[in-house]
Amino acid sequence: MPDRPALQLDGVTKRFGGLAVSDNISFEVPSGARTALIGPNGAGKTTLFNLVSGVYKVDGGRILLDGEAIHQLPPRRRVRAGLSRSFQNIRLMPHLSVIENIMLGQLTLASGPRSLLAPLAWQRRSQWRLQAETSMRSAGIDVDPDASVNGLPYGVRKKIEVVRALMSRPRLLMLDEPAAGLNPRETAELSAFLKSVAWDGLTMLVVEHDMSFVHDLCEHTVVLNFGRLIYDGPTRSVQDDAEVRAAYLGNRRVASNGGERAA
């Protein structure tokens, strides 16, 4: 496994008006591992995702994917460079079928003129469709591939979005609250599925509030609060960190709790 981190943030800053929603953030996402990005509401997690995926432009700092600076590239070039993401609110294409949504994720692997102009929808046995169906089944999505995504249960749509993000065979997969709104059984399934797709060099960065999911999936955790980095270390010791506890519970209470514990 290469030593070079999959993703490096170096002093990344973003301001909306006068407010720094990302304030000089620097951390590294180790290659081939799964890293969690957590923090209270409004800490700037989704903003950071938008900065890395190119939805927003950085006001300062650098973002490196596999050592290459990507913060100046348009979003689609970042996808080609090996980056893929899901959205906090499901962003499936409502008028596309399940399989079409998933096949949209194959776009960067198949964008030559020949592949763009092949009548994909008529080729029921094309390698693209078979590959998409296989990925769909292996994620436990057990619905008619030609069904509309509208009207499918929330958990299924959430899984479709994760599979779609995986179809470009990214080097870095960024998931924005993949377990939100899932029931405990679906959450466990999702966690097992994400562990199973760890192909060589696949790195994951996961925003999540469900801490048992984070503990189960991610060895490494980064914590943001008010746009600042407050923790960067192993997941198992994140809840022992005083500043992290303060961020989640409020300063005073942690101080008194800490005092009691020390006593």
Binding site: V55, R76, V79, L107, A118, D144
Partner: protein, 288 residues
Amino acid sequence: MSGYLAGTTAILCINLIFAYGIFVTAASGQINLGGAGFQAIGGYATGWLTSEAQWPMGLSIVAAVAITALVGFLISFPVLRTRGVYMVLATFAFGEVVAGFLLHTDTFGGAMGMVVPFHIGLGILVLSALVVTLLTFYLMATRLGLTMRAINDDEDASVVMGVNVRAVQVAAFTIGGAFTGLSGALYALNFGFIEAQYFNSLLSIYVLLFVLIGGVQTAWGPLAGSLFFTLLPELFRVGGSWRYLIFGVVIVVMMMLRPEGIVTRSMIRRLSPRRLFARPALGSADAR
């Protein structure tokens, strides 16, 4: 075939090709209200090349299509800087500029119009409409068609999926320009006479309505919309001068009942033979 029926079929074929030109842009989320302008360019290019430059008919049609495709390509860059209602206005303005230019240019006959020295019959019109229809169905089945539909659904998410949104939209305008130009060329050759007044904003509105009422989700939409708009006014002829009122009410009712168009994807899915006849073969998906 009676002259009346032949005339209705001819205009149906021309409008269908026109509608597919507008559909290709609409299917990727762009509203083109300047269709008549593209059609006028196709018609006048054919008229001028056949009468003044004395080119053969076939070559003139090819040239007219190439010119409108180029115009579609070039006009897409300023137009794609605008969004939503501003894009509607920008394309509308384009159509008006073209009509105004032709009306005041003596080379193209000005208000007198132009006589076209060739004539094509109904057979070629029907064949052309068929070819354009099949081409559009093919286009929508490709990966390019898939990205067009994705952009129409959620442009921002498409960007993050790696779709080159601008390139797809420029391609859509170019292909749309070509189809619309072809409809103009065929109009000029079928009617034998063109005048700038024909290519007015009402025509643009009508054909856009064909597409929007028919539905932009599948290539069936323009077909349904064109049939609906061409045949319904004929059926309402019994209503005398009231027929336009009845027609207007029907349009409003259609918009209320089927806001996404007459033909939608879910409708196609429900009616697909695969679904109607091969249900058990789907396996575990339908086993429950």
